[in-house]
Symmetry: C2
Subunit: 221 residues, 2 copies
DNA sequence: TAGATTGTTAATCGATTAACAATC
DNA sequence: TAGATTGTTAATCGATTAACAATC
């Protein structure tokens, strides 16, 4: 596999390729072209070819890509050949919802522990996981070789949780709290705050409609 | 307000500015510089100034930005001056979790209806919303002037839900299902599938650690 | 006046797309 | 051989950053 600086945009697309390829495999499709992929994933075929070519020559001219082989390669690139252990802090509604995604994450990742700082939540069962107190985080992270942390606590607690994860040796964090976390350079953080996504959608609403429906939007007194 | 092509990257940052500015306002901070904002939000101050300057001259040289004024302006740009109505389809764990975010969305948006296609869910109470059957979607969307739809159903149902939203006149969709939706050009879709984010994090894991712990990762047979 | 900070231009950097020779 | 499709180069497009005159 070649080594060079890979752009973030490319890395963000790899899981999307992987997801669709897995679907193709289930449907017993053996081969796929960048054309097909582009159509399905709303991407330019040239971009897909270029993305994949960063990591090696995975296709065959005139034929396309072998689905099974490409899946294997992408999992290798993403370091998903061994299942990665994940821990989650914040056993609220969102945390509980995400804890149920193990079946979807399949062989790639597994949420192995759930923590919460607040007594009413501790000891509660979510799926087959018992909510643990924050005091056990460091030990559990080390014992299970947890490498990624998910944060689903309120904004004002998120930085503390991030610190705890970093201290425990977690290498990456997926942050659902609406706040920008400060972490050392060697720790990667992805923001997953859905309210940001939702509010930005408003920009694209059709302005024409604004005052269309009569009486729906009276002047402010 | 100037008119010109605004990049998606800029629009994605506006809600992040808005969020922090709102926090500043609650703390009764009156003025903020691009320097301050950049430090807090991990962005280049020049970028912040440029982002804002696309829409007008909101700051004062030598002083910075008036917090209240900038909030007002950003809400205007994002068309959040009137509360926007949102509907959600999929009353599973994730859907229920998101339905509870109204307090956080404040004056900006409001989830006004929740739908599900499956009888056991229908009639269920989530907060003060009753889960409605899909048959009522179109009418409810029109009655409440719902402009944004949220999809939290399994992947295989997501396209149907998107179609229903589009038919009902929804202008934008936030899609949590792990699938790429096909919609007409005038409808905006943002992907919010967290498994994609999570898997892409794996790429940034520290390779050095891979075979560090002895015996943890035996060779395949 | 001196210091701070904007708005904006120019320079740089990065990502996407088009085009096509190579080849299955 | 003819058609399809990759891998890759070059061209284009878009986003970020540096630098600084204007000015509070």
């Amino acid at each position: 596999m070649k080594t060079m600086k890979i752009s973030e945009a490319v890395v963000r697309r790899l899981p999307i390729y992987l997801r669709y390829l897995t679907e193709l495999q289930q449907r017993e499709v053996l081969t796929v072209s960048s054309q097909d992929l582009g159509l399905k994933l709303d991407l330019n075929p040239a971009q897909i070819r270029k993305d994949l070519a960063y990591f090696g020559e995975f296709g065959r001219k005139g034929i396309g890509y072998d689905v099974a082989y490409l899946i294997q390669k992408i999992r290798q690139i993403l370091k998903l050949n061994h299942q990665i252990s994940v821990a989650l802090v914040g056993a609220g509604n969102l945390g509980q919802a995400l804890s149920n995604y193990n079946t979807y994450l399949k062989d790639n990742m597994k949420i192995v522990a759930v923590f919460d700082a607040h007594t009413p939540k501790i000891g509660k069962k979510i799926n087959n996981l018992t909510v643990q107190p924050m005091e056990e985080l460091e030990q559990t992270v080390r014992d299970h070789n947890v490498r990624i942390g998910i944060i689903t606590v309120p904004a004002f607690e998120a930085q503390n949780v991030a610190n705890a994860f970093v201290n425990a040796g977690v290498e990456a964090i997926l942050n659902f709290a609406p706040v920008i976390l400060k972490v050392p350079n060697h720790v990667r953080v992805h923001a997953a705050d859905f309210t940001t996504d939702l509010l930005s959608l408003a920009y694209y609403l059709d302005n024409g409609k604004e005052d269309e429906e009569d009486g729906e939007e009276p002047m402010d007194h």
